[in-house]
Symmetry: C2
Subunit: 711 residues, 2 copies
Amino acid sequence: MKTYATLIALAALGGAGLWAQTPAQTGPVMPLPAEQAFGGGELTLSPNLAIELSRDASPRLRAAVQRLREAWSRQTGIRWSESTEGAAPAPVLTVVCDRSDSALPGLGDDESYTLTIDSHRAALHSARDAGALRGLATLTQLATRGPNGWSLPAATMRDAPRFAWRGLLIDVCRHWIPLPVIERNLDAMALVKLNVLHLHLSDDQGFRVESRTHPELQRLGSDGHYFSRTEIAEIVAYAAERCIRVVPEFDVPGHTTSWLVAHPELASAPGPYQLKRQWGVFDAVLDPTNERTYALVEEVMAEMGGLFPDAFMHLGGDENNGHQWTGNPGIQAFIREHRLTDNAGLQVYFNQRLDAFLAGRGKRVMGWDEILHPELPRDAMIDSWRGTAALAAAARLGFSGIMAHGYYLDHPDSAADEYLNDPVPAGSRLTAAERSRILGGEASMWSELVGPETIDSRIWPRAAAIAERFWSGEQVRDVGDMYRRLALVSARLTEAGVRHESNHEGMIDHLVDLNTAPGERQALRTFVDLLEPEGYHRVEIQIWMNQGTPLTGLADVTRPDRGPARAWRDAVSHYLFAPGALDRGAVAALAAPLDSWSHAARVVLAMGGRREYPALREAKVPAEGVLAAVAIAQAALNALADGRVLSREWQIEALATLDRAAADNLSATNLPFLPAVRWLTLAAGAPAAARRPGEPDWRARLEGRTPPARS
Amino acid sequence: MKTYATLIALAALGGAGLWAQTPAQTGPVMPLPAEQAFGGGELTLSPNLAIELSRDASPRLRAAVQRLREAWSRQTGIRWSESTEGAAPAPVLTVVCDRSDSALPGLGDDESYTLTIDSHRAALHSARDAGALRGLATLTQLATRGPNGWSLPAATMRDAPRFAWRGLLIDVCRHWIPLPVIERNLDAMALVKLNVLHLHLSDDQGFRVESRTHPELQRLGSDGHYFSRTEIAEIVAYAAERCIRVVPEFDVPGHTTSWLVAHPELASAPGPYQLKRQWGVFDAVLDPTNERTYALVEEVMAEMGGLFPDAFMHLGGDENNGHQWTGNPGIQAFIREHRLTDNAGLQVYFNQRLDAFLAGRGKRVMGWDEILHPELPRDAMIDSWRGTAALAAAARLGFSGIMAHGYYLDHPDSAADEYLNDPVPAGSRLTAAERSRILGGEASMWSELVGPETIDSRIWPRAAAIAERFWSGEQVRDVGDMYRRLALVSARLTEAGVRHESNHEGMIDHLVDLNTAPGERQALRTFVDLLEPEGYHRVEIQIWMNQGTPLTGLADVTRPDRGPARAWRDAVSHYLFAPGALDRGAVAALAAPLDSWSHAARVVLAMGGRREYPALREAKVPAEGVLAAVAIAQAALNALADGRVLSREWQIEALATLDRAAADNLSATNLPFLPAVRWLTLAAGAPAAARRPGEPDWRARLEGRTPPARS
């Protein structure tokens, strides 16, 4: 068995510079390992590569090694046999775990590992299973094709996470998300080293777990769409196999309409209640002055605490608007009698009782910002959807917490925006002790606007960038390098069975039919990649939306943060703002894709006018927006290339046109390349002498909305 | 409960003409129902459509109804709740099964059903679960999008299969095919009403089931790739849920190298034996003169007979070349002593013993043509890979049999070829009694050249056309209409999770990298859709191929019988051979795609010359073939349009060029549009007066290889 000392020695062979890390040397792995260095050479991935595991490796570790083989096979086409009978032929990958077991994963598990690869062998070493599995995820991402076939690059890595809590929330209430989708997302989480699956299991729109003690909850509160107890056990086991914890959330006392369908007597206002089919904040709230409320909630929580073995139980606690409490004289009397001050005090009272109940059963509670209160026991944990200040306030009060704000995947924020959002931003004034209470963060996939067919495309690949934020050092902030590696990991995710790419053609099928010409389909592909869906604001545009609305419209087919629009915007930004003169040669490259964008928009516009494509009617406004914006961009690029200054009148008209193209439209999609057209418009109207790339005031002036005065 | 009489009455409402069937009225369903008529009107598929099941419906039927809801949801985006609490709002789909139970499916189960749909309601009726499930498969295919949204067409159907045995063989030995692939193929089979999954479980390259009595078989004979007993139980249950039988095949006495690795003492020539990594017919064969052979085989067969509850056990029996028996004096002495005449007689002796053993355990044996012998008990069944004559001979001898010949999916035969191949061809001279012994057929997916990533694209959608051959009447032979419906069912298969389409981009990824420009990728898509893979002949071209060769080459990325090449070939055929004058206007349509084909070939040729695309080097010959053939086609089309006659010299040169393009090349791909270019070449060299579309001798002359003499 290889010892840690051997590995250190191997690492030392590379000399001091070995651990140095420059952008050119970041390799393919996401999240970026804490320390890595690539030497020369490579280890050939041939079918006779043997993987050696020590005899005492747990079944979990053996299964993970088998998944590595399968992942490499999917990527390379090479097949490895599981058998290690007989003399193993070199080369060899050795996996050594000091204490391998199949214990349930827990907060703070040791996830560190070291990995060394030279041209003859590779060695992965960890103290525990969790570290070994993280190292295997790294290996999954290291296979590289060169002119001589597939290999692993010679490398030395010493890796461990920055944060212990690296989660993904999946809301299975607003739209039902069945088991296979959960399982493939667990596979994806394992690949990028996320370690907490937070399941949002009850809300106004559904109670999504089978309760044995109160079967009326799922019977009346789920439309038949809920996880059976067997399925929950399967999810927990599937996650544990990947060293991923599962934290259940049962949102109380608000967001409880689904409970009240069966138990209207526990509401704070008279029933009956029906499942909500729309989204938003509703009045329905449990009555915390009714002892029967505690009887029910505690029975259910006790049962669910058994079903979900994790130490944490999430009680939600968000968005109780208090209307029912304010309107109920008995509840107001209770508040006065118990000197609870106000509705907020009543919610603290409710939380304290549940906290005490669950603490007695060995559970720690967590909840959204709203549960934060000085009187709450300090073992409660805060899940902050409100942001840095709220999380810092919790940490100062002595609460542990995680950051959810800025990682909401239902918003079409770019991966870059999410990536640069830090749970403990640079310049934070928290003390070391306070910082240590910020345990990490969670990417959140709220499901008002996604179903099983589209959820993958909203989570991935962006959640991989968030995973890097949680795992890698705070100084790792090179957005360009992140996107380079994100493209690589996205391909690995597809191979692992995630459907963010492979479902896309099926989504396009919803817009067209079998008679659609290949050229039309290709135009539609190009077009939808120029668009992105609205976030939650969509429900204010498509006001008819409810749980029954098919998620097959143009907004559903589009995806956030797509490459073509992003690459063009970045290129325009570089052309205008990078230090040095405007590079006339770059104009041709910037103009190159625009004709194909116009062509695609014209084709889609024509299709939308035809009877057989009713779903493309709503493409009219964005397609016209593409055409108008491209014409403006072309005029501006021509002027910039020729050193001409476009008129103030032209500029005002162009900016108004761009404003219209950026306005809300019924398709609930946006054109993320418009800001770059706006830059070009402003630049083309600036006097040639005032065009000063690299100077901050030039960029600031362009980003202002007012056209500069003519000189 | 609705009675059968009610349904008949409903059907009668449509009048006598209701059952008439014309090509324009064949609707979307594949296999084509035995009797169907479409009335006017439609039943709207709204979210409030209720599905009513009688209270005594089996869990299997309830689950199938739930799958119907899910399939419709995937297609339409509409979600249906499982709940039927409270008053069901109209419209309603009623599912009535006279005797619903969850018995294991068996040969000859009643699979008939009737279905009536009007603008207010739909009613499915069957005698047993199997029929109800077949009717639900029909409903899955009936959802249609019109200008007013999704609906089912008003229709009346009375349906039952022509053949009782409608199988799909999957070989899991040559390449390992794991559980998820089997399950998604079972879903696909259910959609097109195939009812037998034939698993080829042991061969020279692997023994693919866990044996409890002889664990050494899978331990030494599978590289760790085998179904556990639990997985087999899961497959059998998954199939039974869909009223699909599972027939296991353990191929003996030949094709047994994988057994002999652990038991060389049972071979007919001295060992040791190692798993075969290549394909073909090998000498290794069990020794039927050794009582220990029977002890082992019978123990394994008894165990497997318990694991697979179906009444049939397939013993293979094919391709024993007899070399080991001929070379073994003891075996030859045994033949003489037992008056067995020759090696064939010895195999009959072996089969009789196994037949008697398995008959004693309630099993019927089946095997390939080679087991056929007058002395074999008549309850044995013949699986004919040799064809019509062999199957007819078996039927005349009194044996039941099924047709495998002509349905080998490892060959790139077109769906049309497979579709027109009939187990009992028109003109068969079999008596009615003999015909009744031909129970159906099986599509066979031998896995020498497929792995988990490509197998779907070889099976589907072609197996749907074969399924129609087995289900629908022998008079159903309209190839054009078959392809129209095949495109529809292919989309339903994708929605059901089959990966013949959705894995394609991943296959293209094997040829390119992340820096490949979108235009290059699109050219590659166009190019590979002009190609088809070689069949089994590939192993004679790529002689280095073995089990370890990655299935990621150009041949693996191409797929059989793709639309663009087929559509063009059909259009050329129509232009040249349809009655009437050559239509000059058609030339423009025929020429239209050719430029994009040349463009694609040029792009791929350039990519293949670059260092980063080693996998595209082998595209050189087919890409040059496309370029040459397109140039010839363009010249010929121009000449035909202008009424010019191209010279005999040009024609000879062109035909030689086409011959070279059609020759074997190292990529092991072919260009299925070449025959149409050949027609054009010959037509363009014929005197204008001799160009007589619609006259048989004109086509016959063109299809001859000799250019016509100049007039």
